[in-house]
């Protein structure tokens, strides 16, 4: 029953979102963004619903979802911590920072802590290269993040640290 209720709710949301953008195939990437914004990820059921809303095949929608890094298909943690892995941040120690985060949280990149609080993700450039290394937590960018600063940020996210 609960599952059905959730599915109905999703169907309603897909329809709402699709209506806002105009249910046109060319809006698919934007519709998927809005969906991820709302739910954090895109489920199989959502792909089915979205495909029917914008009149594309499931394979078409799946192809777009799997192409882009932003469209995850598994539920993320409550907070998503993205550590920049690109060259400018590498030059300022992002590799060490990443290992440190992994150690502190007990997870690797693309994983979520057991308590569901934090997901760790790589990102390739946040455009904050003059203040490397950069980290983004949810939608907020932080500059010159050393181990201490990262520890206190993780703590604010309710992570072990």
């Amino acid at each position: 029953m609960l599952l059905m209720a959730v599915q109905n709710e999703e169907a309603k949301t897909v329809h709402e979102i699709a209506t806002v953008f105009g249910a046109r195939p060319e809006m698919l990437v934007q519709i998927l963004h809005a969906f991820v914004q709302r739910y954090g990820f895109i489920s199989e059921e959502a792909i089915r619903q979205i495909a029917s809303e914008v009149n594309l095949s499931r394979a078409d929608v799946h192809g777009v979802v799997s192409f882009y890094h932003d469209f995850r298909t598994t539920e993320p943690g409550r907070h998503v911590v993205r550590i920049c892995q690109a060259e400018s941040c590498q030059a300022m120690g992002s590799r060490e920072l990443t290992s440190h985060a992994s150690r502190q949280l007990g997870i690797d990149m693309h994983e979520t802590t057991e308590d569901g609080q934090i997901s760790l993700e790589p990102v390739y450039c946040l455009g904050n290269c003059a203040c490397s290394p950069a980290v983004m937590i949810d939608e907020k960018t932080y500059g010159r993040v050393d181990k201490n600063r990262l520890d206190s940020l993780l703590q604010q996210c309710g992570g072990r640290s």
């Binding site: 990437v29 192409f67 060259e87 400018s88 450039c125 960018t141």
Partner: protein
Amino acid sequence: MSSPVIVYVPRETAAVSMGAHEVAEKIAGLDSVTVVRNGSWGMSWLEPLIEVDTGGQRIGYGPVAAGDVESLVAAGFLQGGDHALKVGPVADIAYLKNQERWTFRRCGLIDPLSVDDYRANGGFKGLEKAFATGPEQVLEQVKTSGLRGRGGAGFPTGIKWQTVADAKGEQKYIACNADEGDSGTFSDRILMESDPLTLIEGMAIAGFAVGANKGYIYLRSEYPLTRRVFAKALTAARESGWLGENIGGSRFSFDIDVHIGAGSYVCGEETAMLESLEGKAGLIRYKPPLPAIEGLFGKPTVVNNVVTLGSVPDIIALGGDAYANYGVGRSKGTLAFQLAGNIKRGGLVEKAFGLTLRQLIEDFGGGTASGRKIRAVQIGGPLGAYFAEQHLDTRLDYEEFAKVGGMIGHGGIVVFDDTVDMAEQARFAMEFCANESCGKCTPCRIGSVRGVEVIDRILANEDREKNVNLLSELCDTMVDGSLCAMGGMTPFPVRSAVKYFPEDFKR
């Protein structure tokens, strides 16, 4: 009662990433103070750089943390009082004073969302002149200016616009590439956050010149603050009549939609970007047909980078010759260089083409942040070559850099000190390509995966000589056989690392 003192606190990603919101909140709580959220001057190492308007002069303090506000108040900063963080009148800071600002001249100076501020500083003069002189004059002036695409490819903008203007068809588009994915670059972001109306004006001028009434901006998802600021700028432009129907009282109508990217690097390539704008996976298209003939939704489309379009308003307002006076040879005008990585004074430096890499890194950048020796410099993003000490005196223009096997690209300069492991950087270049390849062509899709494996074998000392040759052949195949710059230029950082830092590959 005296009028409140104006304090500028930037609302720009770098400043905000270092705590500008918290500083603004603290200062707004003081008596007789009006906080204006300006953009950034691009002196990122000083962010948050706040400024106090002491009547004609703007006195800077930076980098300011929320915890510094109390001591700033005690020092009388609202009257320009002395404090350890005081940097003096911002306009006199050498880093800024020694630049040649054209495209970024209003960044930091104005409230980015104020149409009045924009107008008071020469805004919309270009568009008004375009309306007065007609589309053909606009095309002429852009050609005269010598402006070339600032996204990286350096294609002459005037020729591209002329092609779209000459193309048959009722519906044409302006597609602005704001998918600034190169590490070490942030000039598009700074312009869109600090002077967004310049981009709006530039796009409208492009639309007027080629006969397009619709523009799209493809903005990367990694820039959430940019998205919010720019959305407000679009509203401000519409409400003041500078966007939408009958712009500025003319008979020309033009509007802009913003699409958000989804974390794909290759979507910065123009044809992949068009696919993504159409809601599809960002697969590269074959060229020809050029986007100028068959672009977005199959219609003639101008695809230009943010900085290219943002350079246009003043080219029209002041004339193409004024812009062409800057620069050297075929590299006319200015470029917004971005100093990043291990650098003491990171930020944006807009200069005429022709200064050397050393002037940029040492005079402006002040050397490494770590204080150690510079060992390598990557120019032009993840597809750009790594350079060594002996290249620091190379002149920065498109042609000079091509001669030494590099490219200026979008102007990003990433500095590494002597702790860098260049084999690791070469391996990363291949790994990044494997991650980000769109998968359409084999040299890029498979070549990059094999590239990582071959580098691993070299580092493990397996058949060293054979594998070094194999890597070289693989690079040839990728350069010659890839459909776009992703696979076609990934060998640049790899080869340059092997060539200039061979010792790192022998362990």
